[in-house]
């Protein structure tokens, strides 16, 4: 029995990178979803939520096609770097970002939507630009939702399997993640190793989520403080 630490570090690195990138990508998307009044907004919301219901193999398949040498994106990447995106760590990151998108955007958007609009108005009348208001009012008041979104992204990426297998394959040190390693061990009937690896992943994910939710208790009410009435 030997745990594949290389797979663990790769998975951890992937989860951290994806969480960080999704935080940056997710914020503006969530902001737009919660503040836009565009009538077709629901279509965008549906697209963002798709990875929740779509089988990872479907998402993975289309990603593989999109990243491959026959798609414009794939050709552009090859002309830029000389190799294809599929079966690379970068391809894995792109796939994971799409796959975990709703797990970041939905908590973000939910916490943005729960902010009292009067606080945003108050900030504007006090001279703050929309961007200023976003960082001084919206983000601090959304902290629990932002942390939840980041934690869910991290945990979800740690445990993903289907998309990784489709897009990344199973290249040790490049695209072999913990979940694929576990699958390999089971295929090879190394149940003890599979069990140890699985247990470790389980403990890590639980500890991660427990720490986040435990530290996420609100220290102030999220709504505006009202006068006495």
């Amino acid at each position: 029995m030997s745990i594949d630490w290389q797979a663990f570090w790769l998975t951890l690195r992937l989860a951290l990178i994806v969480s960080a990138l999704l935080f940056i990508i997710g914020l503006p998307i969530a902001y737009w979803i919660s503040f836009s009044r565009w009538r077709w907004k629901f279509l965008v919301e549906a697209i963002v939520a798709m990875p929740i219901v779509l089988p990872p193999t479907v998402l993975g398949f289309y990603l593989l096609v999109a990243l491959g040498p026959r798609s414009p994106l794939g050709r552009w990447w090859i002309s830029l770097t000389g190799h294809t995106l599929a079966f690379t760590f970068t391809g894995l990151v792109i796939g994971s970002i799409l796959y975990s998108l709703p797990f970041a955007v939905q908590p973000f958007a939910a916490s943005f939507s729960s902010i009292d609009r009067r606080l945003i108005s108050a900030s504007a009348t006090l001279g703050a630009s929309p961007l200023n208001t976003f960082f001084r009012v919206t983000v601090p008041l959304s902290r629990p939702g932002l942390i939840t979104g980041a934690a869910l992204t991290f945990a979800h990426t740690m445990g993903e399997f289907g998309v990784v297998l489709m897009v990344g394959g199973n290249i040790p040190g490049v695209t072999r993640t913990v979940s694929i390693e576990i699958f390999d061990q089971v295929q090879a009937a190394n149940y003890a190793t599979a069990n140890a690896t699985a247990l470790l992943l389980l403990v890590i994910c639980f500890a991660m989520l427990a720490i986040v939710y435990g530290s996420n208790r609100r220290s102030w009410p999220i709504t505006a403080i009202n006068g006495p009435r």
Binding site: A122, A124, T125, A128, W220, P228
Partner: protein
């Protein structure tokens, strides 16, 4: 900021007293807006000027007061019109000018205060000073906190202080930015009278040194009289009246279903005489079933009603803008009427009506007494009052009604 322009505006001008004009620095706020709220079909359509000093916006909820303030503040875009302070244009539909809220330099105290829950009192107050150098920011924050008597709260969060203190913080946050207009949306609602009047004094003191227009929204008549140099009455999105608080508020209210709710006694009344010096007038009550004479037939009841005249009951009411001989309706709550079994003396109340108890009816834990004083009035008593006074139908009683318990409405 605009130059010292304080000339009176057009027909709907609301003017401050001459003393206010002399120190004016902020210029007059000129507002002409139309705003249709798509979801509710509500239409705000107003035009007024507000000189430096307090202008009261008075109206029932749903009259459009908050919508109007939001338009001035730039939080919602009017459909058409123009808003300017001095010669600085904030909004002009025709010229396609729409200054965003953050560039209008308007202080706005929201009805629900909207203090930032994640920031301390000090950080809340400093919020609007982020472009001011640190030293000056600290100095201005400290000085406004002490002017509003809350320096000791600087380090606390809004959820750790009382409602009255929050109201002071919200005021401080708006005042510290030296706004060119101050918008106050029922900032003192639900405060006790003592706290309220202290805050009003502080606001007045601030306005003495910062001569800017202050739009103060309220639906409390007391606040209108306490604060108002001038007042605007808003009703269903339109301006009903402008002028001094006395001029606009003494106009009889439009009688609506809402106004009638809660008044057990609603009677026809004919204005008999006005006592402008005392702020009251005398009306003659007509029993509703006898019917008032049709207009023109009996312009002045006392002189013209001849055959079997019903007993007309004189009632002293608050003075409203009405002519002698005109018809009004008087609403009196049953709970505002006192009942006595001997002729009461030495009362401040101006109306003591002799009558006879017609019926006593128990309603839950209270007694509804009907008394015929020439007109039939309903009064509410407690069970204990009925028992200790040994009340029963047919008994001679006196009803006591305070002048200000008589609510006048347009007929």
């Amino acid at each position: 900021m605009g130059p010292d322009k304080t000339e009176r505006g057009g027909t709907t001008s609301v003017s401050a007293p001459p003393a206010a004009d002399a120190h004016a620095v902020g210029g007059t706020l000129r507002v002409q807006v139309r705003k249709q709220i798509a979801e509710s079909g509500f239409l705000l359509d107003v035009e007024f000027n507000a000189a430096p000093g307090f202008t009261i916006l008075f109206g029932a909820s749903g009259a459009g007061k908050t919508t109007l303030l939001d338009c001035v503040a730039g939080l919602i875009p009017p459909n058409s019109g123009r808003i300017a302070i001095g010669d600085r244009v904030l909004f002009d539909a025709a010229a396609r000018i729409q200054l965003p809220a953050e560039r209008r330099k308007i202080g706005y105290v929201f009805q629900d205060l909207a203090l930032f829950p994640h920031l301390t009192v000090e950080k809340n107050v400093e919020f609007g000073l982020s472009n001011v150098p640190l030293g000056e920011r600290r100095r201005r924050t400290a000085s406004i906190l002490s002017a509003l008597r809350i320096p000791h709260l600087a380090g606390r969060r809004p959820n750790e202080i009382s409602g009255g203190e929050r109201q002071r913080v919200a005021l401080a946050r708006a005042l510290v930015t030296d706004p060119v207009i101050l918008l106050l949306d029922e900032p003192l609602a639900a405060l006790d009278v003592a706290t309220k009047s202290r805050i009003i004094d502080d606001l007045r003191a601030w306005n003495e040194t910062h001569r800017v227009p202050v739009l103060y929204v309220t639906h409390s008549r007391e606040e209108v009289f306490a604060l108002g140099e001038s007042a605007i009455v808003l009703h269903h999105g339109r301006i009903l009246a402008t002028g001094t608080p006395h001029e606009v508020l003494s106009a009889p209210q439009q009688e609506t279903v809402a106004n009638l709710a809660g008044f057990e006694n609603i009677l026809d009344a004919n204005v008999e005489s006005l006592h402008a010096d005392r702020g009251t007038m005398t009306c003659l009550l007509y029993p509703s079933e006898s019917g008032k004479p049709s207009p023109g037939e009996a312009p002045h009841a006392k002189a013209t009603v001849k055959k079997t005249p019903p007993k007309l009951v004189p009632l002293e009411t608050p003075l409203v803008r009405a002519e002698v001989g005109s018809w009004l309706r008087v609403g009196i709550r049953a709970g505002d009427i006192l009942l006595a079994i001997v002729p009461p003396v030495g009362l401040s109340a101006r109306n003591v009506l002799a009558g006879r108890l017609v019926s006593l009816e128990r309603r839950d834990v209270m007694i509804s007494a009907r008394v015929d004083c020439g007109v039939e009035l309903e009064a509410h008593l407690t069970l204990a009052a009925r028992d200790s006074l040994k009340l029963e139908a047919g008994r001679e009683v006196w009803l006591v009604i305070k002048t200000h318990s008589c609510h006048l409405m347009q007929s």
